[in-house]
Amino acid sequence: MQFVAEVGAASERSVAYVGGLAQLFGKSLRLLFLSPLKRSRLLQRAEHQAMAAGVGALPIISLITFFVGVIIALQGAYELQRLGAMQLVASLVSISITRELGPLVTAIVVIGRSGSAFAAEIGTMRVTEELDALETMALDPVAFLVVPKFLAMAVMLPCLAIWSDFMGVLGGCVFGIVSGNFTFGSYVIATRDALVAHDITTGIVKALVFGLVITAVGCQEGFSTGAGAEEVGRSTTSAVVISILLVILIDLVFTILFYLARGTA
């Protein structure tokens, strides 16, 4: 009985948490259009965030997705070789990268770089009374801090996902050429034939949602920081853990939806 009660309480907390995220997103959306703050300054802050969270992540995301591309090609080749279907490596890499791994790896790198940073930044501002200071200056912390982050991430995550698609395919291509089964030209053609626009758009839609979720969780954790430096560490950790969990969950839901939609089409 105790166990059932605990499961019930935990589920209730989870639903409330997700409700909190939705509320933060809703408030940000409202403040984006009805902001009491100046639009030009808002865009400036969003640009600043986009540089830090998006452009700053380019090198590491390029490197990781390139390697992921090589790994998928290698793992695929291992099986495909036995079937004598090495020419399918290109489609295996391009489809698994664009539909799944590109956006997912991007999201996980961004969680580590930016989701944690959002929680730490806002958490520290809570501890040092900077959030209170913003409020007494009639600068709503959500309008001032969160809205630019949402804007930046909503734009940058899809862009990063497209870039990581490209780098992943490039990784597969390098393997294809080195293994001697492809030339650069033939790999590109094989990739083009394997991909349909739908593969790329599903990845981009997922990346957009991941971006919003990472921002919401990072900021929410930051705001819920209690007193003291230890609390900032706690918020940062939970921002990362919760973001990864939610991103994977959402990925699962999206994949199921896309799968069902494909079945009926």
Partner: protein
């Protein structure tokens, strides 16, 4: 006297179940400097946070320039906040912005002044608090006293009608603390602003105050002109002013309750 700029009636504030302010009623008038003194845990910081709208009253009301801030809409509250300045105890400067931009922030967000005008205003404010030339320093590079002064400059940025100070001289050496008191007196003379200062430093309280409100465990136990409070014969007031430690628990039952509270 003129209309009250700030008025509170039967103001009660709670943190969860615990009531911190037990029904405070007072008025603060235009141009006067009111110092709220009290020991740790007396509720003076809570009172300050309530006056600027960071805490909501549980019951009773607080009016600033006639607006009930417990029930004001976000927009009304923003309008009020543009007319007040608050210097936080630790400064609470935005750590990611240099000092100059911290002071420029409210001007950039709330006014349509030209950037060059704002730059001049920032320099004037910094000069007023004795921090000329520190525009480009990061808050982390300043000493505690300088951070407090930078926070004053930011509180002054919008030329507020009411200035609030939270523990302006706490944690500072006597010379720096005297400098801060001098600064408050200068501001009082120069702008005839309404100022509310929360402190536990008696010397500085009597130096700068027109009127004093003495808080004790969430109640006002003395209120009036500085001299009147200084001469008060109320035992708790005397204890506070004469710096006498709490030696005996004044109520044995209360004392015992402290150990058993919350147990079933």
């Amino acid at each position: 006297m003129a209309d009250a700029v700030i008025s509170a009636s039967d103001l009660r504030v709670r943190y969860g179940e615990r009531e911190v302010l037990h029904g405070l009623t007072f008025e603060i008038f235009h141009g006067e400097t009111v110092v709220v003194i009290g020991g740790s845990g007396s509720g003076k910081s809570t009172l300050l946070r309530t006056l600027v709208g960071l805490e909501k009253p549980f019951s009773g009301d607080v009016r600033i320039k006639g607006v009930d801030i417990g029930r004001a809409s976000a927009r009304e509250m923003d309008d009020i906040r543009k007319k007040i300045g608050l210097a936080f105890q630790g400064g609470a400067l935005i750590g990611s912005l240099p000092v100059g931009e911290n002071i420029a922030l409210p001007l950039l967000e709330h006014t349509s002044l030209k950037p060059t005008t704002i730059e001049v205003m920032v320099r004037i404010k910094l000069e007023q608090v004795g921090l000329s030339g520190f525009e480009n320093y990061n808050p982390a590079q300043l000493s505690g006293g300088m951070r407090k002064r930078a926070a004053f400059a930011r509180a002054l940025a919008m030329d507020p009608e009411i200035l609030f100070f939270d523990e302006p001289s706490a944690g500072l050496d006597p010379i720096t603390a005297a400098g801060i008191d001098g600064l408050i007196l200068d501001l009082k003379e120069a702008y005839s602003m309404t100022m509310v200062v929360v402190t536990h430093e008696l010397a500085s309280a009597f130096l700068i105050a027109d009127r004093i409100i003495l808080l004790d465990r969430g109640n006002i136990i003395a209120m009036g002109p500085a001299q009147e409070v200084r001469d008060s014969q109320h035992p708790r007031v005397r204890q506070f002013l004469d710096r006498v430690a709490d030696t005996t628990q004044d109520d044995d039952v209360d004392h015992l309750r402290m150990f058993t509270e919350g147990l079933r």
